[in-house]
Amino acid sequence: MATAPAPHDPLEPLPLVVGAPDDHTINESLFQYVWKPTGRGWWTVFLISVAGVCWFLTAVVVTISKGIGTWGNNIPVAWAYGIINLVWWIGIGHAGTLISAILLLFQQKWRTSINRFAEAMTLFAVLCAAMYPALHLGRPWFAFWLFPYPSPTRMWPQFKSPLTWDVFAISTYFTVSLLFWYLGLIPDLAALRDASKKKLQRVAYGVMALGWRGSGRHWHDYRLAYLLLAGLSTPLVLSVHSIISWDFATSILPGWHTTIFPPYFVAGAVFSGFAMVLSLIIPARKFMKFEHVVTQKHIDNMCKVMLATGLVVAYGYLMEHFMAWYGGNQYEAFVFRNRRGGPYAPVFWTMIFCNVVVPQIFWTRRARYNLVIVWIASVLINLGMWTERFVIIVTSLHRDFMPSKWEMYYPTWVDWSLYGGTISFFLMCFLLFLRFLPAVAASEIKELRAEMVHDQGAH
């Protein structure tokens, strides 16, 4: 399959599946890495990520045994890495739902090759995100206090607080994403069961496939259920990041108290999520030999989505600063002046460079077709979106109305370890997923191929 890329006629649409593989070849090529013994490269990265997870656990033990004082948080900067990283991870997760649900509803056929991959990314990213509020509680074993249950104190959560909305939004989001992902996996797990040669594999995949036999009577209900889950996920994903943004926007703090937050947060989430999909899929498609199903067309489309959402984010920045000036509120004006020229100005300008300047290279085809450039740009955008959350949270908190309570915020080694640790955890989960489960939805690729053959026959 991996032929050298031929010079391409710019007027011809790029193919979604290269060559004309039959169903058997698709099965073989997409599942081959599951049967092959694990390579040295996989083990190297996996062990590094496991080491990172061990380091993460150390930081967790320090946090729990000594308390939140080991973090750099202070008053006024009571929210720092805990919330920065929560928002960052949740945002990354949103691209998975966007690709799998919204693009499905819009009948974008190119989603098929990357949806499974992106949905797995969503699940692991939401897991990483959920660890931060739990740890930030200081006593994570009381995390169940967040949920309404009949307690001996007769107290209930305060449902008028956006932080309670967060609990419902994130737990619903994780549950629905998991159901959607698993429902999509079932036909492929059955294909793995039926293609497996060893007894253990056959039993393991057989149990996970739940006895799926591809019956027409099953497909009849299954397709509708899948579509309806996509329909439910679409408003859900928009609501989750809107609710996250309300954590800020419903407060009266300058720099947070603005109505532009929900759309600007959702666009930023999609922006960073696509950047993460690209940072992961560009190496993965090479090592796992998926170039024939994750083609240049997919990368090209993802770059265009990043460009579009990047422009929305840039518009958000512009509007924030414009309103701070035009609104005539001195506190608001000060916060934005402080962002541009205060002690955290280097972080602000890094954000502008990564999120506003870097995506502009995707106007040119040459940049979108150069995988090295796309990969570097996507990593920079991930960094940029992290600095965006840093800028929003830290600069608004560290200098608000009263100069007497201004305070600088510096992260400690525990903060950095928790951040690096969740990245390692994410990587570890992802490597396990790539090793044992079908990373590309084979049944959907077969369906797409059947449609393409049918379309060609019709012309």
Partner: protein
């Protein structure tokens, strides 16, 4: 375990499978089913399936969820333990919207997933069609048709011959007894 006989035929293309099912239905065969690695356009019509009930499940689940979500907040913050914070009203519908929506989506998604599992009668690790070794290709690259018979109406010979005549690459029969299972080619 009830006594049943399954006649299975393998086809190379989805068109062959659909043609066979349409033909068998015209001949008056009941309890037909198709098996394919991906959803085949037109198989629901060929099998004569009624509209799926999943949509109704999701509608009911979503509405029940939204109602419960709102009532939960009302019960906790208005009825059982109202707290006066700066004179804000205990019952404030706008602030109850997000959780109402989230719980609605959650129960809608549960009813989609568990509803479809109930309709499909899954998980069900064993099924007589799995007795045929070649049936493994039904999830990979082949298309199968099955006809299930109760013992009284079993016309094995006809059904198997009919499937071969319709172009089946191979035909297998699974006879399921309470005591034993036999597979004939």
């Amino acid at each position: 375990m009830t006594r049943q006989t399954w006649v299975l035929g393998e086809f190379a293309t989805p068109q062959g499978m659909l043609g066979a099912v349409r033909h068998l239905r015209r001949l008056g065969y009941k309890n037909l089913d198709t098996y394919s690695p991906y959803p085949v356009e037109g198989s629901s019509e060929a099998l004569g399936l009624p509209r799926s009930r999943v949509a109704l499940f999701v509608l009911v689940g979503g509405l029940v969820g939204a109602t419960l979500g709102y009532l939960l907040q009302y019960f906790c913050n208005v009825y059982d333990f109202p707290i006066n914070i700066g004179g804000r009203p205990p019952h404030s519908p706008p602030t109850f919207i997000p959780i109402t929506f989230e719980v609605g989506v959650l129960l809608g998604a549960f009813s989609a997933f568990f509803g479809v599992m109930a309709l499909m009668r899954l998980p069900k690790p064993y099924h007589p069609v799995f007795e045929v070794e070649a049936f493994r290709r039904a999830s990979i690259d082949r298309f199968w048709v099955s006809i299930a018979f109760a013992p009284a109406e079993f016309e094995k010979k006809h059904a198997a011959e009919e499937l071969s005549r319709l172009g089946a690459l191979q035909v297998a029969t699974v006879v399921q007894d309470p005591a034993s299972i036999q597979v004939y080619k």
